[in-house]
Symmetry: C2
Subunit: 369 residues, 2 copies
């Protein structure tokens, strides 16, 4: 029953390995492996012996060794600017849910929107041989070396929430043009005519799109585009505060803010300046959160499907990992205007304006759910 064949005993401090189980149950490694991955080719008696040994030794297959030979780690790398930015937890959660469903795990990195950190993170993930990478690109260009690496390396990338023109990869984003367009149309319909924008950094693709939507809606509504009513922030609270001061000094009667954190900053500026919303100006913010329920006035916002963003990106990535080599896909998720009080009380707003945005490169699909 037991080992007379040349085989080392179990190392002391170490977890049981497959060969320990084999020795314990008097079968070959092959048989243990077959039992673990329950292949059919194992007789009932042996299978039982092996299972007992597994329980006895508390054996747990070493997925590192498995990864090495299978050339798959069942791990996805995910790089976000900052998990503390309330936008991202839900995206990460979406990705994790989808990943989990397919037996993958998430290796999480924060880039702080720094190119250097982004590069380090990508290099590390590649070295760790993740099966794919979900990337919310930091503002700015890849270094040429990294760009080359990414194009050549054999694992799929899916861009999340931000596109990156010179990279022909899949991307899952929200239809920011459309969201901004609707936001501004809503401001216009509620009677505002001098509408300002607090924008994100225009080097970031979605900030640019939101700006485009803003501009086009203005044009559509025959309203003037006044450059001094457009202030560029960096998506953070502090910049919303500063931008708010700058913008409000020109007394716009409507403001569209391109993200939630800057809205928080803006509202602080508003209070300092003793202004009232919606009396003095109408406000539409981007992105919805549970705690907005206690803001007064209740904010009208354009909600982005954050969870879906993450889950669709992960699903797509996993498809690619599975070997679906098709043309790069650009998937745009539809945002949803949620009308509350910050533009004055709910005008009757028809759904009429929900049309697809003039769309971009390659394969564009407009989907929700």
């Amino acid at each position: 029953m037991s080992s007379s064949k040349r085989s080392k005993p179990q190392k002391p401090g170490r977890a049981a390995s497959i060969s320990d189980v084999a020795r314990e149950s008097g079968v070959s490694i092959f048989t243990v492996s077959a039992v673990v991955n329950n292949k059919s080719h194992v007789g009932k008696d042996l299978r039982e012996r092996v299972e007992n040994a597994i329980r006895k030794l508390n054996y747990r297959p070493n997925l590192i060794a498995r990864s090495l030979i299978k050339q798959k780690t069942q791990t996805i790398g995910m790089i976000v600017p900052d998990i503390v930015n309330p936008f991202f937890p839900m995206v990460v959660r979406g990705a994790e849910d989808a990943a989990q469903k397919h037996g993958y795990n998430l290796l999480l990195c924060n880039s702080d929107d720094s190119l250097a950190k982004e590069e380090t993170a990508i290099e590390l993930l590649l070295s760790k041989r993740v099966d794919g990478i979900l990337l919310t690109k930091a503002a700015g260009e890849f270094s040429p070396a990294l760009h080359k690496t990414i194009q050549e390396v054999n694992i799929p990338f899916v861009l999340v929430m931000r596109t990156y023109p010179t990279l022909t990869k899949d991307a899952v984003i929200t239809d920011d043009y459309q969201g901004a367009y609707e936001a501004v149309c809503h401001l216009a319909r509620s009677g505002r005519s001098r509408i300002g924008l607090i924008s994100g950094p225009l080097r970031i693709s979605n900030a640019k799109e939101r700006w485009r939507g803003f501009r086009d809606a203005l044009e559509e509504k025959k309203l003037p585009y006044e450059p001094e009513l457009v202030v560029e922030g960096d998506y953070r609270i502090e910049s919303g505060f500063r931008a708010g001061h700058a913008l409000l000094s020109h007394r716009p009667d409507g403001i569209y803010v391109a993200n939630h954190l800057m809205t928080i900053g803006l509202l602080q500026a508003v209070e300092e300046m003793g202004l009232k919303c919606p009396e003095d100006f109408g406000l539409v913010s981007f992105d919805d959160y549970p705690w907005l329920g206690v803001f007064r006035p209740r904010l009208t916002t354009v909600e982005l499907p954050k969870h879906q963003l993450g889950s669709e990106a992960a699903e797509l990535l996993i498809q690619r990992i599975g070997g679906n080599h098709g043309k790069p896909v650009l998937k745009k998720l539809l945002p949803e205007l949620r009308i509350r009080e910050s533009c004055g009380f709910a005008q009757f707003v028809s759904a009429e304006h929900r049309r697809a945005a003039p769309s971009e490169p390659s394969d564009v699909s407009l989907v929700n759910k």
Copy 2:
């Protein structure tokens, strides 16, 4: 210079391996390894040859193989109930920062406070041979099997934010007893005498501690403990809303809410019932967030050092991984009372009451920074 020795050519679709580099530069694998990990023992000429080959082949060491042989993955598993709960992103960020500093990565899992998911996650992390696990325990008991596994397995665990009595492991938590105590004392000092509590699930260690702090502060201030003024929620918005309705119907003149999400729910109930804070009741909430700046009245809260919580936990874990086998440590971080408007305007509050909480088992250290 080149290969006449038996050595396979580079596989087509695959990344270059160390032996490809060795072949390309006409040296042995050993030498390449030495160059990569820049050991000193390599001659200048050879080193250069090898470095060129590395660049040419775009070689990137395979950390999976390295992990297999070194029995270290440089990866930490982190299990939180839900990254979407705004408490956790900052904790995760703290952990990630510390991990990164020491060359570790974070594998993130959500347990949804479900024992089943927690167990699955732990099993998976163990199979993936993470070097250690950061765990915010789900409410409830480990299954006996899992409990045994955790005690026996050779990798360190650090509990984050929640302790678990039958497990002799390290833990990093906030001093919730002290935080609650201070919160209630502040309510008392601002003249409230019928103080209510919206508590977390009392099976969770920190909820219990907060309850104890609440009770003891009441006693200390010679105020009555009225059972109908204590309502147990589940740390989520909805439960705060329901608990708020239940609690407010008894007309307390002070409320301490044990976490942020339940505060959001409570405030919705408050508005529905047409009550005013701080006129009708004083409020102290737990945990501070940037967006609280726009809540009215400005909330007085007990801030928990979330980032530090994560980073200290990770630091401790990494120490353990590094071989520091000492007695289990319980590290308590001090919370900070931030007085704003929700108990009436800033009474003069002395720092006098900042004393250490009567402390618990084993090695307790009280630290901040």
